[in-house]
Symmetry: C2
């Protein structure tokens, strides 16, 4: 007889059939002559049922001996079970032991401190919550790449090892590059601008690094970012593309990972509302709204975390904050034509207090204006020679943005701290495992 070796997420296609699942024992309980085994295989979790008189004695005994995380191949018949949180159940007829796990598995099913869990991140990722977060992270990345690939973008990887281009390098990790100082990239944007002039619409998808000593729940020292850049696209079109992308991400997760969202207790109705268009608020309007509500902030100051949280809580969709004062933002942003003290930029704040997930802007395309802005900011023009070239040779209006993957994961999965939104987080005090 042919053996169906399947994965747990394929059980729906095998109801009533005998299948074999290779995986690990996540948990078990006993009820007289019945053993319940919770099995995980990487694609999902399922409950297997072993009835004393329906299996060989050694199989039933094995259930008693099996330690948490032992690897097993279980064979049984798939039953649909609407009362089960997994939707299906396996009536087990046979169990093949692959390895009996040492009986000191560190992560028991009780609560552990977060430092202990982070020390055991290589095992912590096996638990249902972390499994769900990482599965959704995968779905988010997949959705981003699908959206961009389907819309004519070309992936152009920015370099990670870069020479310094800024006056200050305090936020950069320094590396010894064959005796020369180099730095880990904080953003690939400048390279993406060069690529957009060659390939039209481009994006990078890679790790970025910030040597910030912050320990907030929104900061990682190593995180992933997608940075699209588009020639012949202005500030307004830029925002339209961003909101379409974010809508696509959220709707893809809802469509393909609703089981994982439910595992996390996510309120799906909040995600279902994430449809374009998103609200837009100018920085001026934001300041006014903050002041009216008792926040002490003056025009010209950058928004802080509490300000962003307040603003985002006024909406049930992500909100664009646009046209910041030029002095709050980077030198390369295009000033507004009739009001040059503000720039054609937008930050996209996620709902529910998850903060900024996108920063974007139209870039300066005029050669003289770029030189003027570099001088105003006292930046070393010679370090920007190749970047300036882009304004000498066929400059065009262009725009782009950067979306932070882990903050987006935190928002969609409703995870308090971004350190659980990346497989192996790097923070101020942690580079292991």
């Amino acid at each position: 007889m042919k053996m169906n070796i399947i994965r747990i997420n394929e059980m729906k296609d095998f109801v009533g059939e005998e299948v074999t699942i290779k995986g690990w024992l996540y948990n078990k309980r006993s009820s007289g002559k019945i053993k319940f085994l919770i099995i995980r295989d990487g694609s999902g979790f399922v409950q297997g049922v072993v009835v004393k008189n329906e299996v060989a004695e050694d199989i039933f005994d094995l259930c008693d001996k099996l330690t948490q995380e032992s690897s097993i191949a279980v064979t049984g018949v798939v039953r649909k079970d609407d009362r089960s949180p997994y939707g299906y159940e396996l009536t087990i007829s046979n169990i093949k032991l692959i390895q009996m796990a040492f009986n000191d598995y560190p992560i028991s099913l009780k609560e552990h401190g977060v430092d202990f869990l982070l020390d055991n991140r290589h095992l912590w990722i096996r638990t249902p919550k972390q499994h769900a977060i990482l599965s959704i992270r995968h779905e988010i990345i997949k959705a981003i790449q699908e959206f961009l690939n389907n819309n004519g973008f070309v992936r152009v990887d920015s370099p990670i090892i870069t020479p310094s281009t800024c006056e200050g390098t305090s936020d950069l990790f320094q590396i010894d590059y064959f005796g020369e100082n180099a730095y880990l990239s904080q953003t690939g944007q400048l390279y993406q601008e060069a690529a957009a002039m060659a390939l039209g619409k481009v994006y990078s998808f890679g790790p970025t690094f910030r040597a910030e000593k912050s320990k907030t729940r929104r900061h990682l020292n190593e995180f992933w970012m997608v940075e699209p850049e588009m020639s012949f696209v202005d500030h307004y079109e830029n925002m339209e593309i961003q909101e379409k992308l974010v809508e696509y991400i959220v709707q893809s997760v809802l469509e393909n990972r609703s089981k994982e969202l439910k595992e996390l207790g996510r309120d799906l109705s909040k995600l279902e509302k994430i449809k374009t268009p998103f609200p837009r608020l100018t920085y001026d309007e934001a300041i006014e709204m903050l002041k009216k509500n008792g926040y002490e902030i003056e025009w010209g100051n950058d928004l802080g975390s509490p300000d962003e949280t307040f603003l985002s809580n006024q909406f049930d969709k992500p909100v664009f904050i646009t046209e910041y004062p030029s002095k709050c933002k980077a030198f390369y942003m295009q000033p507004k034509e009739d009001r040059p003290e503000v720039v054609m930029c937008a930050d996209l704040l996620a709902p529910e207090g998850y903060g900024e997930i996108i920063g974007g802007s139209q870039r300066i395309h005029d050669y003289d204006l770029l030189i003027k802005r570099l001088k105003e900011e006292n930046l070393p023009i010679e370090m920007y020679d190749w970047y300036i070239d882009l304004r000498k040779y066929g400059s065009v209006p262009h725009s782009g943005f950067g979306l932070g993957i882990e903050r987006t994961v935190a928002w969609i999965t409703n995870t308090e701290h971004v350190r659980e939104c990346i497989p192996f987080p790097r923070t101020l005090s942690r580079i292991r495992p």
Copy 2:
């Protein structure tokens, strides 16, 4: 009248219609009362034709003034033209100048030295050959992700910043991590093994770093790699997945980027042959074949570049070289059951002398054997504590591999040197632009 603003790669859908294309002047020539403009827009190249008496005088004059790389929006009617290398032609009725490029554009249409071109990499990527290579690189990455996503793999990013796990760190770039020494990752494999025990089938897709002082045409100090890892998969299934992946990559490029392959003068018939199964040669057979053909190599030596080139030239498909002596390979590879001096590994050599594009193996899953191998190699066991945990808690047979993106691009695009196969190469002497 509605204006069709399209990209060059969409022209086939607009034959006989008036369209506008926004792009750059790549080249031009004149033939009496006709001007020929070669326009690029990032999605492709096309010839535009301007006839003196059919356009306004200032438009015709503008053609004379236009400098190389000037940005323009051109309007005209799309004509199918089978004699044209582009397949289509634009009969131009109007040209809107966006920016007249400075007339000292460094990359003229004559030959330049490679150092000069690398200094101007930000502009070099605008030329047809580099455009084609980078477009195919995009397609290769897209195909890899599609294949893995469609086959149940979950993307799990490995960390880039890592503590040292090896005895020697001479091949690693060192970074200052808040006063502590850390290193840029050479491979995410160990992390992928942890992830495979949590999520079943996983892959990382990221940059990897080698601080090697080699200057060969096959080496970059920063390059991209995909590293799939699969629980419950042995050495033989591992090779089957690899060959299916490589077939999928090549066939996707043929299907979607034949124009770019032709631009590069690629012999398509060689790529059309890349169908599974690929030949397999044991290391023993490879040594015998080399010796017979006058190569001086003894059993136990690793294969060198000339050896690999000779071997790959015996086949018109990629060839697996399997079961290397254990001492040529890393500590974690599974020894062959009946012959423990060789390991269950395979290197996949690309045809046409492009060298190794994949290295893979079944990993040791037995706890005692792993400890023994670590000791034999004098590796610091305490640095591998979390990796050893994977053998304590639910160990299962598992396998994985790493495919180097730029070497794959070099092979498929028939590019001599990998430095042209990455947007912004980092080599021994270069981190700019």
